[in-house]
Symmetry: C2
Subunit: 389 residues, 2 copies
């Protein structure tokens, strides 16, 4: 019996008693979360657990404040059963979007409902100073919490590894920064740090309702350009957690210098700073207004930026054949002419059969989906809950 | 209790007795396949099944000819245990590669070892005539089989859906062709039909040995250009089974007309017919020789074709951050100058951090991996075996 082969075939292992109990407790919590208010008998029926086990596990959850009795349901023959529900306010999650020029923090309950929100302009601060802003924001929103804090979820630009270390976030001058560990130690709370596009993709996936697609892509187009991928109902990070880093694919080798050290990356053409630099506009809003008012040059620039992104999306669709693409970020401010150019170019440049069926939608600036995604990642890890509404 | 939500949360269902037995039989077969020769006691220990169950299940497999006793192993205290092994020759798989100009059929045993192989040049035959060639090949190799046939596995160009219907295979003039059903009915055998790049990717994944990567891409570059994706240890087809169809992404809107109806698709620049058309060479071998002999124009053409593919790979790496890429197909005949150009351009055009760690290797013409992949897909589906060596 050869060791390496055995590991590879992954024969199912027997679970220990403690593992079984934790698994069963998570099952009951999920039943409350997904299906509550619900009777103990229905939980037993749906999970396959005995009524005795369910009674004990619900009682434990009630002791922790996570479950509450909420009255009686309709009788199915005997006496009316007591219904149990999740107490969504029993825990609070601190969630952050480390945006392009603004960091935002908020409090969310177990349903991802946002209660408190506060922002700080960075005003050019980066490196250690930017970390200071994160601490300040966490302290500020934490003071407003009315239930125990479950943990911290953070959406950040840059390449982030599984441990929550930011490998590289150019705009913030962060390199190999173990942000999850830093926040965990300073605030003594479990912390999840994820790439912002990926957090946004996760939230978009979770909150797509009953038509939730197995595969979807969220592309954040602002100061940088990056995509978050949900493939087969899971976030996909690739071999080095850099999947979706489409902003640094060279689309024109004779193009402008990029801060990554190359020339002609997608970001040098289609990102917010590139668009402003090329047009001399003072803001994306001003550019959008000029284009809407009939300024041919402004409109041309808006469309050119859209086409560059559309070309990159054609490649993405060619690789993944994914039908659901959402665009978020400040560049969505450019509105219809930009979005039309993105769609036209993506369709024109990708296989007819797939291109036609691909929908590319405007998801707005995307701050909320990033906050929700970071919160959902924390809830998934800490409680095994799959947040949805 | 809301129906849609319940379905979505997928609470584990209880298995029936028959399901349990089939599951356990598959476990034992896998143990023999992966770890045999092995004692019944070791199978029981590894699978968690009782020794009585293992005894019965092994006995059933022996009755079917799939398992055989192969002598005695070392004693672990008591008497020497009898070892059981998989009888790899107990079943035969018919496997086919429907190549660009040649169809190949072979017989393989349960370990994917190929015993008989026969090919037919298409000589321009397509449509119904090409289906006729498939039938002839199957009849021919089947006559040589010395054990019961388990089924047929087919790797074909084109977009193939889960049912084995070929949506679109331009070079063979096949559209909406239910090839799996046709072969199943005519030959009365279970049949799996898959895209050839995808079959090649599956085989490359399975036969990568102990260092098997979770993510890899095989790109077939011949008459057409298509990629097969293994993501997180599974083939990935996308929403419409067209994932990897990178040959029809437009890389130059002012380029040549493509048979798909667009202009400037990757295939109009980097496929075998495009390279031959642009250079006027009589064959890829002749072009490779001219380039090697110092013909600057030939070398330039070879490098240009390589760069075009490299650019598309840069986009693919940007989207997936996948580190293992294998190139197969007739165009690999162009050798080092072409491969170097592919690598240079892919590295130059994708994010430094990821591009440097991506390996792009020459996998040769790729006929064998396609045959093996088609065989492996059939074995996986029919016996639940994950073929490897």
């Amino acid at each position: 019996v050869e060791g390496t082969r055995l590991a590879r075939t992954e024969f199912p292992a027997k679970a220990t008693h403690a593992q079984t109990r934790a698994h069963n407790a998570a099952l009951v919590l999920r039943a409350l979360y997904d299906l509550g208010p619900i009777s103990r008998a229905d939980i037993a029926r749906l999970t396959g657990l005995t009524r005795t086990s369910v009674g004990e596990l619900v009682s434990d959850l009630e002791d922790e404040g996570l479950a509450i009795d909420v009255g009686r349901g309709p009788s199915t023959g005997g006496k009316q059963p007591t219904l149990v529900a999740l107490n969504a306010g029993a825990r609070t999650v601190i969630t952050l979007d480390l945006g392009e020029r603004t960091f935002t923090a908020a409090l969310a309950n177990l349903r991802g409902e946002i209660a408190t929100r506060t922002s700080r302009d960075l005003d050019g601060r980066d490196g250690e100073q930017a970390i200071g802003v994160v601490h300040e924001l966490i302290d500020e929103v934490r003071a407003a919490a009315t239930s125990p804090i479950l943990g911290i979820g953070v959406g950040t630009p840059g390449i982030v590894d599984q441990s929550g270390t930011i490998r590289w976030a150019v705009s913030l001058d962060w390199q190999d920064l173990p942000l999850a560990r830093i926040l965990q130690q300073r605030h003594e709370l479990p912390t999840v740090v994820a790439n912002d596009s990926r957090a946004a993709a996760f939230a978009t996936y979770l909150f797509s309702g009953d038509e939730r697609p197995a595969n979807l892509v969220v592309i954040k187009v602002g100061r940088g350009i990056g995509a978050g991928l949900v493939l087969r109902d899971q976030l996909f990070g690739g071999d080095g957690e850099a999947a979706g880093e489409i902003g640094h694919v060279v689309i024109d080798p004779d193009g402008d210098a990029c801060h990554c050290g190359r020339y002609g990356c997608l970001e040098t053409v289609a990102s917010a700073p590139a668009i402003l630099r090329h047009t001399g506009a003072t803001s994306l809003e001003a550019l959008a207004e000029a284009a809407a008012a009939g300024d041919a040059e402004a409109l041309g620039s808006v469309r050119a930026a859209g086409r560059a992104l559309g070309g990159a999306i054609a490649h993405l669709v060619g690789v993944l054949d994914v039908r659901h693409i959402t665009l978020v970020g400040t560049v969505t401010t450019l509105g219809e002419p930009w979005l039309d150019a993105v769609r036209d170019e993506a369709t024109r440049r990708s296989l007819a059969a797939t291109g036609r069926e691909t929908t590319i939608v405007d998801g707005g600036t995307g701050e909320d989906v990033t906050l929700l995604g970071a919160c959902a990642l924390l809830l998934t890890r800490e409680l095994g809950l799959t947040v949805h509404r």
